[in-house]
């Protein structure tokens, strides 16, 4: 019987500990640098003051949550085509980490909105689309857990990932058009009275790259969890078959 310590688990990234650990260290370092840049290097916005620094977290997280859904879309397509479990594992992990990111995008967006627009929420295209994205992610995860079998769950989830992804741009534009008729006197979260200063833009870019690494690391963690779940399932199955 295989020693579970270095089990070559299918759907995994190969020899786990070293890749994941180095990813964790790189991400950690990048994040520390990012925080330094955000608080020590970034210029203070002349209109909004220090609270504007939330922007360096909120924007990359929001963009990342949409990119994650794109990943879910691609891997869902691949899974429906090839049925390799690995694609489903990546899609699932990306969706779960993605929902964490969208939740955070919404939370930071709300906290950002209050001081800047004097309201917690507004039905403008980006926020509304992010909300819908959150709902579709949740539907994706729900349909996976509530499906009758694991394989059906994977298929249903893939369908939701595909249909949902195609729907998101339509949602965005419909709200843009709606808002042109029902305007509210606030402006989008990325517009500032300062146009984006060179330094600000670079720090934003760096922050974005940091969050890409963070996302990949979190997906790697989640995928390892899934492999462990599968190993547990297999060992339970073996025991049950032996009547224990």
């Amino acid at each position: 019987m295989a020693n579970t310590q270095n089990l070559e688990l299918p759907g995994s990234l190969g020899r786990f500990p070293s890749v994941k650990t180095s990813l964790a260290i790189i991400t950690g370092v990048m994040m520390l640098v990012d925080l330094y840049l955000i608080f020590m290097v970034a210029p203070t916005d002349s209109v909004l003051g220090h609270v504007q620094r939330v922007f360096y977290f909120h924007v990359p997280i929001a963009i990342m949550s949409f990119l994650a859904f794109f990943a879910v879309f691609i891997f869902s397509l691949m899974y429906l085509g090839k049925r390799t479990p690995k694609w489903d594992a990546i899609a699932h992990a990306s969706a779960e980490v993605g929902v964490v990111f969208v939740t955070l995008a919404l939370l930071t967006g709300i906290i950002w909105a209050r001081p800047v627009w004097n309201t917690w929420w507004t039905w403008e295209p980006r926020l509304t689309t992010t909300m819908i994205l959150w709902l579709i992610y949740v539907a994706y995860l729900m349909v996976r857990s509530y499906a009758p079998t694991q394989s059906k769950g994977a298929i249903y989830a893939a369908v939701v990932g595909i249909v949902g992804f195609i729907d998101v741009p339509i949602v965005y534009y419909s709200v843009v058009w709606w808002r042109s008729i029902h305007p509210s006197p606030v402006v989008g979260p990325f517009a500032q009275s300062d146009s984006l200063d060179g330094t600000m833009y670079l720090i934003l870019l760096y922050s974005f790259i940091t969050f890409i690494f963070f996302f990949i690391y979190m997906v790697a963690e989640r995928m390892e969890l899934r492999s462990t779940e599968e190993a547990l399932g297999r060992i339970r199955f073996t025991l049950r078959r032996r009547g224990r």
Binding site: K152, I155, V159, Y173
Partner: protein, 223 residues
């Protein structure tokens, strides 16, 4: 075309089944009335505001009714093994999907036809506008196409009552937004051009998902 025959047979059978029992169509119509009553008071629909609120209340009612109707239809279908029977037969998956979607569409249109005159009276608007009819048709088509796909999935899951709404509403939001906007203009007497880009939006949505949904439906029902 080889598709048309099986589709029409499926539709014919399902529609006859629904009309014969009649309980589903009556309950959905009653539900539609209840939704309007609730929304009327929830939104504080005083006489002056009716013009502003009517299209929204109309589409909220239609959307909730559609979810209810499709949920019930698929649950009943599953209990009777209707879908299983179709899957064993040599009918193509596309035909099954289109048949089911068309059945839902016809069912919903009948429900809406029953409700519309009542709404016109309760919410004080003129329903005699062919642009309004067109909007209702296209919007309902969107509900039917996407709803059929999601119902086929939801009915297999553990919590089917909640699964369909959770899938349905986020995806169909653009249709609801566009339908309300178009209806507002239609009721105000606008011609087709006056409806702006809203009706084309629903049209594009319908066309897009009429292609996508049958394709993924095959994966949903495969064994």
């Amino acid at each position: 075309m080889g598709l048309l025959g099986p589709v029409m047979i499926i539709v014919w059978k399902d529609v006859l089944l629904e009309l014969r029992s009649r309980d589903l169509i009556i309950s959905v119509v009653v539900f539609g009335l209840l939704v309007v009553v609730v929304f009327n008071f929830a939104l504080n629909n005083t006489p002056g505001r009716s013009e502003e609120l009517a299209p929204g209340i109309l589409w909220a009612a239609f959307a909730f009714a559609a979810v209810l109707a499709m949920n019930r239809a698929f649950v009943r279908d599953q209990e009777q093994g209707g879908l299983e029977g179709l899957l064993i037969s040599p009918v193509s998956r596309d035909a099954i999907f289109l048949g089911k979607a068309l059945t839902s569409l016809i069912f919903m249109l009948l429900v809406e036809a029953a409700l519309l005159p009542i709404y016109a009276v309760m919410l004080d608007f003129s329903a005699l506008s062919w642009t309004l009819m067109l909007t209702i048709f296209l919007g309902t088509l969107g509900f039917a196409v996407v709803g059929t796909l999601f119902s086929a999935m939801a009915v297999q899951t553990r919590s089917r009552e909640i699964m369909l709404p959770v899938l349905f509403f986020p995806v169909l939001l653009p249709v609801i937004i566009a339908a309300v906007e178009a209806s507002t203009r239609a009721v105000g007497g606008e011609t087709f051009i006056g409806l702006g880009r809203w009706l084309p939006l629903i049209g594009v949505f319908d066309a897009l998902f009429l292609v996508i949904c049958p394709w993924v439906f095959a994966f949903v029902v495969e064994e």
